[in-house]
Amino acid sequence: MAATRIGSLLHALGLLIVLAFALFPFYWMVTSSLKDQTELLASPPVWFFHPTLSNYMDIFADTKVTTAVLNSLIVAVSTTLLSVILGTPAAYALARFEFRGKADLWFWFISNRMISPIVLALPVYLLSRQVGLLNTRLVLVLIYLTFNLPIVVWICTDQFRSIPPDLEQSARLEGASQFDIFWRIYLPLGLPGVAVSAIFAFIFSWNELLYALVLITSQGLKTAPVVATNFMSGYELPWGKIMATGTVIVLPVTVFAMLVSRHMIRGLTMGATK
């Protein structure tokens, strides 16, 4: 009895340490964004200070930041939607149908993720220039889709495979079309996987810096991560603004992840069989 209590105490302590380690950078970012420049540069760091929103006022007064956040939103939301719309039917097919070249297709999906993005940066740049897609949001959506689709297909295929095949057969016997089966059975029951892969797709597209930096040069189309790094040029380092922009960048992802995570309940298929 006593042993298990000490055990769970240690367990909780361990979790706390890990949590602190993970959350400290966020804490530092958010608090720094609320400090003024003198408090920010104080050494040793000040733990108690008068919070101020002046950094936020500054960045929101700057249309560069608001446009960038809007650009990021457009790109990330479109990419996420397209990844899910295109990826889930592919995952269903891979999970439940036998067709020629299935194994190769599967391997191709996986191998897409084996390549480091930077290796492709130059070819992609040249290609986009050739087809006239440089400096468009579309090129980012297309590139991010290429990186996100494998993840969506991967996670959702696995999720769909765990759905008892009897459900599909029963539905087929009851007159459901192939689309009905996908829409009314696989999607709702595979929602945890769809949600997880949507979060991955969103986070990836939202945070991606390399391609956004390389393929977009016109100021009005830049995405948030690019603009955040733009502060780090010239002779001053406006930490407060960088931190405030960082906070603004993290916020939508957090909100999105929290909204979607409701669907990540396990055991959704419980009660189907037996």
Binding site: D166, S170, A171, L173, G175, A176, S177, G271, A272, K274
Partner: protein
Amino acid sequence: MSFLKLDKVVKRYGSIPVIHGVSLEAKKGEFVVFVGPSGCGKSTLLRMIAGLEEISAGDVSIDGRVVTSVAPADREVSMVFQSYALYPHMSVFDNIAFGLKMAKMPADQIIGRVDEAASILQIGPLLSRKPRQLSGGQRQRVAIGRAIVRHPKLFLFDEPLSNLDAELRAQMRVEIARLHRNLGVTMVYVTHDQVEAMTLADRIVVLRAGQIEQVGSPSTLYDEPANRFVAGFIGSPKMNFIEARIGAVADNAITLSHPAFVGGTLTVERAPLRPVSPGAPVTVGLRPDNLTIGSPNPILNLTADFSENLGGHTQIYATATDAPQIAILANGRRAIVRGATLPVGLASGRVYLFDADGIAM
């Protein structure tokens, strides 16, 4: 005119045949049970009737129409799966209504149909629950409700009771029999449980390794099994088999020899179905419930081994030279002494004989 007809249907997975040309006919309203050991192809055959499994060769007709290449949904059949296959994210109502919605039935009619099915199965109060909030027996009822709501021409059941405990199984067995009587619809029911087969069936189809061994009413299969496999499969407790030899054959009697018989021989007073020659091997079948202990004219001399008290009956296990285990189902409670000599007589029924190929003779 047969309602359901299988004409030399074959199923191959790749090049491996699983169903070897099965032909079968069932009348309208008949309760047909497919029975056989696990892996013999019962489910495959049922799913071929449903259209869920492609037919490699042969034809299936339902109600006079060849449905071999008709889509499952257009065959007007309902199936209850072994796993129930309830849609876990839908309420009981939506589970039952699913097929009707797919058929684009107007909502008010759907409600009427679901209510009708729910009242037949007494699941009215459960309609708003999700499958995970139901007990095994309730899920079973919902699965049956989903099958009856569409008013199909043919019901297919694939081992629907195998996930239930013994008590519920017996209860649902009675309910399925009642359902069949009330609806009067043709049903094909798959089970590996010969008690279910005996109690539910108008006609039993015994399958082994993708082939029909025998088709007949429960009492036909029990009284006149066509072969040793059917004899061993139908009837509980299982038939005893003694590997004997033909001693002598007369016009109206066969004499069998084996050390377990009193005096080393047993004379069966009937003509063999086919000509047999003395000295040929023969399998003698005796049902445990036909055997009795303390009979004035015993046919077997056995050595008592052990007994099981079943309440109203006692199952006694005995041995003899060249006969490892012979079971006797005796009325009442019998105490036996291990190693004691046990004279056993034939109280009723008959002596079953099978030739070297296992065919009844």
